[in-house]
């Protein structure tokens, strides 16, 4: 699954550490999601989307 977290993070001038702290996860989790190595749960995906005030579809693109 592709995502634009890195783009939105850059737009909000946030480090991985800061975003991780806001979402209550580890920095490694943010890094793994950005690199596409880990697909977040629906709950975390919605929390990330809500944090950046975008829809989940804007943030994540499913690659069937």
């Amino acid at each position: 699954m592709k995502n634009k977290i890195k783009v939105y993070r850059a737009m909000h001038d946030l480090t991985q550490e800061a975003l991780a702290a806001e979402l209550g996860v580890t920095r490694q989790t943010i890094l793994a999601i950005e690199k596409g190595k880990y697909d977040p749960s629906i709950d975390l995906a919605f929390r990330i989307a809500r944090f950046f005030s975008v829809s989940v579809e804007d943030l994540f693109q499913y690659e069937g």
């Binding site: 480090t15 991985q16 209550g24 996860v25 580890t26 920095r27 490694q28 989790t29 890094l31 793994a32 950005e34 690199k35 190595k37 880990y38 977040p40 749960s41 709950d43 975390l44």
Partner: protein, 160 residues
């Protein structure tokens, strides 16, 4: 309590358990180490619950679950195979059934009697066998844990 303090306490507890194991062997008291091990485990569990800087997010939980699941998948096959081997050894052994006429024991019965040593610690060997299996279980878990940690980006470098 900090996580590093917990690991320090776990190490100390492990050393104490080794000491108690040695003492249990000297005293020939198996219950000493059994009870001590359970107390040690409960003690560490209570300490673990008090660790304040623990960071178990969903990815860490996912990695743990995957590693546990794969460990079980592989271990039960190995355990089954070894148990089948053990069963074959068990069934191949004569059954100690007394002959119809005890005054005239058959040849194979005499062999059985000669090979049975009452002082031989059969249960002890069984315990060692179980310990080896347990270490195999832990080793399998560590291998799968490392594999899934790598797969889900535990050791990836920061791109920032």
């Amino acid at each position: 309590m900090r996580q590093n303090t917990f690991y320090l306490m776990a190490g100390v507890t492990g050393l104490v358990e080794v000491g108690i194991f040695w003492l249990a062997v000297q005293l020939r008291n198996p219950f000493l180490i059994m009870v001590s091990f359970i107390i040690g485990f409960v003690f560490l569990y209570v300490l673990w619950r008090q660790v304040s800087d623990r960071k178990d997010d969903e990815r860490a939980v996912y990695i743990t679950e995957k590693a546990k699941s794969r460990t079980l998948d592989v271990f039960w096959v190995i355990f089954f195979a070894l148990s089948l081997g053990s069963a074959v050894i068990g069934f191949s052994t004569p059954l100690h059934i007394p002959p119809p006429n005890p005054a005239l024991p058959p040849d194979n019965f005499r062999v059985i009697v000669r090979n049975v040593h009452p002082d031989r610690p059969f249960m002890g060997y069984f315990g060692l066998f179980q310990l080896i299996l347990l270490f195999l279980l832990i080793l399998l878990y560590l291998v799968f844990r490392i594999y899934y940690s790598r797969k889900y980006g535990d050791w990836d470098s920061d791109e920032e």
